[in-house]
Amino acid sequence: MSTFVFFVAAIGAITGAIGVIALKNPYYSVLSLVGHMISLAALFLLLRAEFLAASQVIIYAGAVIVLYVFVVSYVGDSAPTLGQEPSRLAALGAFACGTALVVELLIAVLGSGLQAIGHDGAPYHAGFGTPGAIGTLLLTRFLAPFEIASYLLLVAAIGAVTLARRRRGLDDGIEERTPVLELGDVLRTRPAATGTMAEAGGSRGVSES
C-alpha cells in the first residue's frame, strides 16, 4: 500500500516539476508547482513528518503560491518576451546539465555505502514528527535558528515593501501633492476638512496656490 502511494506521489512530484519548467504560460507553471508541492506533502507523510507535511501545504502551497499568483497577475503576459522559446542548443545543454547532475547525485547518494539507505529508516517512536516534537526541538535545541528565522521574516517583509514602493516622479497615475505651508496659512483659521488629519491622510482640499 505505501509503495503504491509512494509511486503515485513520486510521479506526481516529478510530473509537476517537469510541468513547471515546460509550460509556457506562467499561470500553468504555478499550478504545476502546486501539484508538485501537494505530492511532496504526501511524500512527507509517508516519511512520518506530519507537521512538515501540513506546514508544506499551508505555508508553501498556500501562502507562497498565492504570492506567486498575485505577482503573475500583476505582471501578466503583457511583455511579449515572457516565456520565450529557449533555443535548441540551450535546451539541449540544460538537459545535459540536468542529467549530469542527476547521475552525479544518484551515484553520490546511492553509491555512498550508507547502509541505512537500504533500510526504511530508524525504528519508529510515537511522537516522531508530531507538532509537539517539532515544537520542543524548536524551543530547546534550535532556539537560535528559530529566533533568527523570525528576524529574517521581518527583514524580508521590510525589504519587500521597500522594493515595491512607489517612488516620486513616476508617471503612474495618482500623484502625490506635497502640502505647501505658509505663514499666512498658520495664522489664518483653517478651512474645513484641513488640518493635521488632512495632511496626514492626503492633501485633499488644500487651497490651490
Binding site: 546539465c97 549530469a100 552525479e104 547525485l105 553520490a108
Partner: protein, 669 residues
C-alpha cells in the same frame, strides 16, 4: 716614506683637485679653480720627484716595487687588486706626465680666464692627470684598462669642452668611437694573454709569459696584435688616426696636454710595458714598426699641406709618435721613451705658443691669414723657434738626440730595419719642412692686419662677432663657447713661466741620453728592460753617419723651408701646381676620412637603418611587442566575454562548477 707611498700620493693629489674644483665649482671666485688645479698637480709632481729619489735608494735589481691598496675582487682564477707598480718606467712616466701637466695647468690659469666653464675645465684636467697617472702606475691589466678608459673618456669630454659648438661635439664623438675600437683591442688582447697566464698582475704575467707561450705562437701574437690595435687607436697611428686632427677642436691647453704630451703617448707606454710579451711575438713587433714608419711619413706629408695652425702641429704629433712606436716596436725602449720625454717638452711648448698666436689672431687658426707676427709677439716667436728646432732635430736640441737614438737602434738591428732608418731621415726632412713652413708663414713677411693692430695700438684683435674657426658659424661667449678674453704670452707671466721652462727643457733635455756619451736614462731604465732580448748596438761609424745625416737633413729642411716660403714666395704656388696630384692627396689627408666613411661608417649606418626598419619595426615591434599585447588583448577579451551580465550564463557556470567539484569528490572516494 717609501717610493710606493709617494706614488700613491702623487696619484691621489689630482683626484683630490678634481673633487674640490668639481664640488665647489660654483663658489670658487675668479681664478682660484685654476690655482687649486695647478697646486694639485704640482703636489703630484713633487711626489713624483720624491718617488724618483726614493727608488734610486733601492738596489737596481729590486726596483720593481708593487703596492696593493685593497682587493677589488678575488675569486678562483681571477685576482683583481688595486695595485700599483713602481718601477723605473712608471717613475719616468709619472715625472714627465706630472711635470708637463703642471706647466700646462699654469698656462691654462691665464689662457682660459674669462671662460664660463673655467672651474669645469680644471676639474676635468685634473681628472685627466689622475687617469693618466693611473694608467702608467697600474700594476695589473685591470687598472691599466681602467686608466685607459678614463683617459679616453676625459679626452672626449675635453674635446667637446665648448659643447655648444657642433664641430667640437662631433669631433669628440669621433675621438671616442675610434678610441673604443682601441679599447676593444686592448681588452681582447688582455683576455688572450690572461687565458694562458691566468693572472692579471703585470709582473706575474711577464714572469709567466716565457713559460706559457712559445715564441711566435698564435695566441701571444694575436694578443700582442690586439694590444697594438689599442695602442694605434690611442696614439693616432694609421689607420685609426683620423680623430687626432679633429681633436684640435678642444681648447689649446687640452691639445697640448692630451693630444701631444701624454694621452697619445699611452700607446708607446703600452708597448714598452708589455715588451716581454712583444718579444715573444716578433710578428707583432714588426707590424708595429711598419705602421709607425708609415705613419711618420704620411703624417709628415699631410703636415706640408695643412693650413690650420693647430692641425699642422697635430700631424706633427702623429708623425713623432710614429717614431716612438717604431722605436719601441723594434726594441729601442730607452730611445723611444727618451723621444717621448723630449717630444712632450717641445710639443707642449709649440702648442702653448700656438695658443698665444691664436689669441692674437682673435680666435682665427688659419695659416693663410697669419703673417708677420715677429715684431708683435717676440716671446711667442722665440718659443716657436726653439720648439721648432727641437722638433726638427737640429743639434744640439733635445729632439736631435732622441730621434737619432731611435734610428741608431734601427741601424743596429740591421737587415730590413735599414729601411726604417732611411724612412726616419726622410721623415726628419719632412718634419723640418712643415715645421718651419708654419713658423715662417706665421711670423715672417708682411704683418697681417691683426699683427699691425697689435704693434700699433697694443690691442689684441677681437672679431666683431665670435665665430667658430672651423666653419665660420656665429657664436656668443656664454657658457659652452670660448670666453671673450684672449691671452697672449707676452702679457701673462704664468704663461711665460710655463713656456720658458719647457723651452729650457727642450734645449738641454737631450743631455740625459746622448748616444754613446751619456747614459743616465739607459741606466735608470735598465731594471725594467733588463730582460729585453732585442739588441741594436750600432758601431760608432754608423753613429757618426747618423748624427751627421741627422744634422744635415734637419738644417737642410730649415733652409729649404726658408727658401720656399720666405725667399721665393711664388715658388710654393709653382711647386704645388707642378705636383698637383700629390698636393691634392696631401691636402685631402690621403683620403683616410673618406675611406673610413665608406668602409665603416656607411655600412654601419645602413645596418642601423636596416635593423630599425626591418628587424626592430617588423620583428620586435610587430611580432614580439604586438604579438604579446595582441595575445594579452585576445585573452582578456575572451575572459571579458564571460562577464556578459547574462544571469543564466552565470547560473550555468555555477552549476557546472558545483557539478565538477562534486565529481571530483566522487572520484576521490
Amino acid at each position: 716614506m717609501s717610493a710606493t707611498a709617494a706614488a700613491w700620493i702623487a696619484l691621489a693629489a689630482p683626484l683630490a683637485g678634481t673633487i674640490v674644483t668639481g664640488a665647489l665649482f660654483r663658489r670658487l671666485p675668479g681664478r682660484s679653480a685654476g690655482w687649486i688645479g695647478t697646486a694639485a698637480v704640482a703636489v703630484s709632481f713633487v711626489f713624483a720627484l720624491i718617488t724618483l729619489a726614493k727608488i734610486q735608494s733601492v738596489a737596481p735589481g729590486a726596483r720593481e716595487l708593487t703596492s696593493t691598496l685593497w682587493t677589488i675582487a678575488g675569486t678562483t682564477g681571477v685576482d683583481a687588486r688595486a695595485t700599483i707598480l713602481v718601477d723605473p718606467l712608471s717613475v719616468l712616466m709619472i715625472c714627465v706626465v706630472a711635470g708637463v701637466s703642471m706647466l700646462i695647468h699654469l698656462y691654462s690659469v691665464i689662457y682660459l680666464a674669462g671662460d664660463r666653464g673655467y672651474s669645469r675645465f680644471f676639474a676635468y684636467l685634473n681628472f685627466f692627470v689622475f687617469s693618466m697617472l693611473l694608467l702608467v702606475l697600474a700594476g695589473n691589466f685591470l687598472l691599466l684598462i681602467v686608466g685607459w678608459a678614463f683617459v679616453g673618456a676625459v679626452s672626449y669630454i675635453l674635446i667637446s669642452f665648448w659643447y655648444r659648438r657642433t664641430t667640437a661635439t662631433t669631433a669628440g664623438f669621433k675621438a671616442f668611437v675610434i678610441n673604443v675600437v682601441g679599447d676593444i683591442g686592448l681588452v681582447l688582447g688582455t683576455f688572450f694573454i690572461f687565458r694562458h697566464t691566468h693572472t692579471f698582475d703585470l709582473l706575474a704575467s711577464f714572469h709567466a709569459a716565457s713559460h706559457v707561450f712559445a715564441s711566435g705562437s698564435g695566441d701571444v701574437t694575436a694578443g700582442c696584435l690586439l694590444l697594438l690595435v689599442g695602442a694605434f687607436a690611442k696614439s693616432a697611428q694609421i689607420p685609426l688616426h683620423t680623430w687626432l686632427p679633429d681633436a684640435m677642436e678642444g681648447p689649446t691647453p687640452v691639445s697640448a696636454l692630451i693630444h701631444a704630451a701624454t694621452m697619445v703617448t699611452a700607446g708607446v707606454y703600452l708597448i714598452a710595458r708589455m715588451h716581454p710579451l712583444f718579444q715573444l711575438a716578433p710578428a707583432a713587433g714588426d707590424v708595429g714598426a711598419v705602421i709607425g714608419c708609415l705613419t711618420l711619413l704620411i703624417a709628415g706629408t699631410i703636415g706640408l699641406a695643412a693650413t690650420d695652425l693647430k692641425r699642422v702641429i697635430a700631424y706633427s704629433t702623429m708623425s713623432q709618435i710614429g717614431y716612438m712606436i717604431m722605436g719601441v716596436s723594434i726594441g729601442a725602449y730607452t730611445a723611444g721613451l727618451f723621444h717621448l720625454m723630449t717630444h712632450a717638452f717641445f710639443k707642449a711648448l709649440l702648442f702653448m705658443a700656438a695658443g698665444s698666436l691664436i689669441s692674437a689672431m682673435g680666435g682665427v687658426q688659419s695659416l693663410d691669414r697669419m703673417s708677420g707676427f715677429r715684431r708683435a709677439l717676440p716671446f711667442t716667436f722665440g718659443s716657436f723657434i726653439i720648439g721648432g728646432l727641437a722638433l726638427s732635430g737640429v743639434p744640439p736640441f733635445s729632439g736631435y738626440f732622441s730621434k737619432d737614438s731611435i734610428l741608431l737602434f734601427a741601424a743596429g738591428r740591421g737587415g730590413w730595419h735599414w729601411a726604417l732608418w732611411a724612412a726616419g731621415y726622410v721623415g726628419a726632412l719632412l718634419t723640418a719642412l712643415y715645421t718651419f713652413r708654419m713658423i715662417f708663414r706665421a711670423f715672417l713677411g708682411e704683418p697681417c692686419a691683426e699683427a699691425r693692430e697689435l704693434i700699433e695700438t697694443g690691442h689684441l684683435h677681437h672679431a666683431e662677432a665670435p665665430t667658430n674657426p672651423a666653419n665660420g658659424e656665429i657664436e656668443d661667449t656664454d657658457v659652452g663657447f670660448p670666453g671673450p678674453d684672449h691671452a697672449v704670452a707676452e702679457r701673462a707671466v704664468p704663461m711665460r713661466a710655463a713656456m720658458g721652462t719647457l723651452a729650457l727643457l727642450s734645449i738641454v733635455g737631450g743631455i740625459v741620453a746622448i748616444p754613446h756619451v751619456t747614459s743616465w736614462l739607459d741606466h735608470f731604465l735598465a731594471p725594467t728592460f733588463a730582460d729585453s732580448t732585442l739588441v741594436g748596438n750600432a758601431s760608432n761609424g754608423v753613429l757618426a753617419l747618423g748624427l751627421i745625416l741627422g744634422a744635415v737633413v734637419s738644417l737642410g729642411g730649415v733652409a729649404a723651408a726658408y727658401f720656399i716660403w720666405v725667399a721665393r714666395p711664388a715658388l710654393a704656388g709653382q711647386l704645388r701646381e707642378r705636383f698637383a696630384p700629390l698636393a691634392t692627396l696631401f691636402e685631402n689627408k690621403w683620403y683616410f676620412d673618406e675611406l673610413i666613411d665608406t668602409l665603416v661608417v656607411r655600412p654601419g649606418a645602413w645596418f642601423g637603418r636596416f635593423s630599425q626598419n626591418t628587424f626592430e619595426r617588423v620583428f620586435i615591434n610587430g611580432v614580439l611587442v604586438g604579438g604579446s599585447t595582441g595575445l594579452v588583448r585576445a585573452s582578456s577579451a575572451l575572459v571579458r566575454a564571460t562577464q556578459s551580465g547574462m544571469l543564466r550564463v552565470y547560473a550555468a557556470l555555477m552549476l557546472l562548477g558545483a557539478a565538477a567539484v562534486a565529481f571530483y569528490f566522487l572520484l576521490q572516494s
